[in-house]
């Protein structure tokens, strides 16, 4: 009987660990959007994203949010124009929600289904690949989100009456820590 009990515990583990929640916290991030114009190539950078992931029974729900006004393209006039076209005063946050299996932490590439809220619109991006490297409790994620302005009903901004391209890819570089 004792052998049976030991075998049961060996298979199912200590009861305290069943369904135990783990959390991930975004430690450091660099988000860079790229806008292409015949006269300019513009990169807007933000290091202000905040994020958290909660894992429960094998599934992890992540939320990342960043203020629209935190992106810096090196020109205050252009940044204000970008905030205006992205309706950033009315919808000040960009949020990204993603659900991943907890086992994804052991893979080198994650294909994530993203739900992005931006400019008062919600867009879904399926199977976006991210490179993942883990070391201890730290995870480093890199990739690019193939966003388009029209996905969020944003009219491409213009300079000297010439509009930018519709594509606005966002490079993602994030370091997460498991708690």
């Amino acid at each position: 009987m004792q052998i049976l009990t030991l075998a049961f515990l060996a298979v199912f583990g200590p009861p305290a660990l069943w369904g135990a929640d783990t959390q991930w916290v975004l430690e450091k991030s660099t988000l860079t959007y790229h806008v292409s114009h015949p006269l300019h190539q513009i990169d807007g950078v933000s290091h202000s994203a905040r994020g958290k992931g909660v894992c429960h029974v094998g599934q992890c729900d992540f939320l990342i949010a960043v203020q629209v006004k935190s992106f810096d393209s090196g020109d205050s006039n252009r940044d204000l124009h970008m905030i205006q076209v992205a309706r950033g005063a009315q919808f000040p946050l960009v949020t990204v929600r993603v659900r991943l299996p907890e086992s994804a932490a052991s893979q080198s590439t994650i294909n994530a289904d993203l739900e992005i809220e931006f400019a008062g619109q919600t867009a879904h991006y399926q199977q976006v690949p991210f490179q993942l490297t883990t070391q201890g409790n730290e995870a480093h994620i890199m990739g690019a989100i193939p966003a388009k302005m029209t996905d969020f009903k944003i009219d491409p901004p213009s300079l000297l009456a010439i509009p930018t391209k519709n594509e606005i890819p966002v490079k993602v570089d994030m370091s997460w820590r498991q708690q």
Binding site: R50, A65, D72, N77, R78, A89, T95, L159
Partner: protein
Amino acid sequence: MTPKAATMLALALALSISDALWAQAGIPTLSVTVSDPSGAAVPNTTVSVKNLSTGQSIEAHANASGEYTVSGIIPGDYEVSAAAEGFGIKTAKVSITAGEKQTVNLVLTAVSPTGAPSLGDLGFTPAQAKGSAQDQARLDKRSHMLKTHQRLGLITAAPLLATLISSGGAKGKNGSASGRELHAALGSITAGMYLTTASFAIFAPKIPGTTVRGPIRVHKALAWIHGPGMILTPVLGALAYDQRSRGEKIHGLAQAHAPVAAVTGIAYGLAILSVSIKF
């Protein structure tokens, strides 16, 4: 009676006496107000008040307005927490001194039924997450005016160039009365369009808290050259026109008309380039 029992009895007695009486008597009182991020009262809130030195605590439900008051509370350090179904727990520490009335406001944040993180979990306040239609309208107006400024600025470059070219027919040996008339007319059109263009930038709404960075600084600095230049040039041009019309050689201040016009034209061109070319 043990000290613990005595304290509990004191707390129970304290709760049975009206707040007004305690307040009149200058007895320490702790008021707890519980609300959601919008400021609305959270019903069925459980409030707990724990004395941090003795570890003793009392627990009660806040009223329909989300308020709970402990009167006659013993001075000391306390931990006050509030919890309600569908909301996270909120805790605050408070020090009560003799004869003082302390108020603690606790704002409860809703939690997702699935346990997924919320914006509150990321530390964003409701004010940060909530936008302002008024601010957006100000930005929209600003962008609209600056777009008009850009377009008019480009259009104004045409009469400006024409004015500079026509100057050849208004001065020197080749100068004629009709040449001066044409030059003056083009100059007037340029000045009028320039002032209209400038007004769209000058009167565009300002966005508080914005630090000017990047090429726009050069663009604005150049405006301090071509702006006064666009006022001086026609004034000096009118002087020169009068002198030439009287058959006089251009003299005095009017001699500065051509150099001022050249500097103004160059500064204007550079101002357009400063926002067109990345450097």
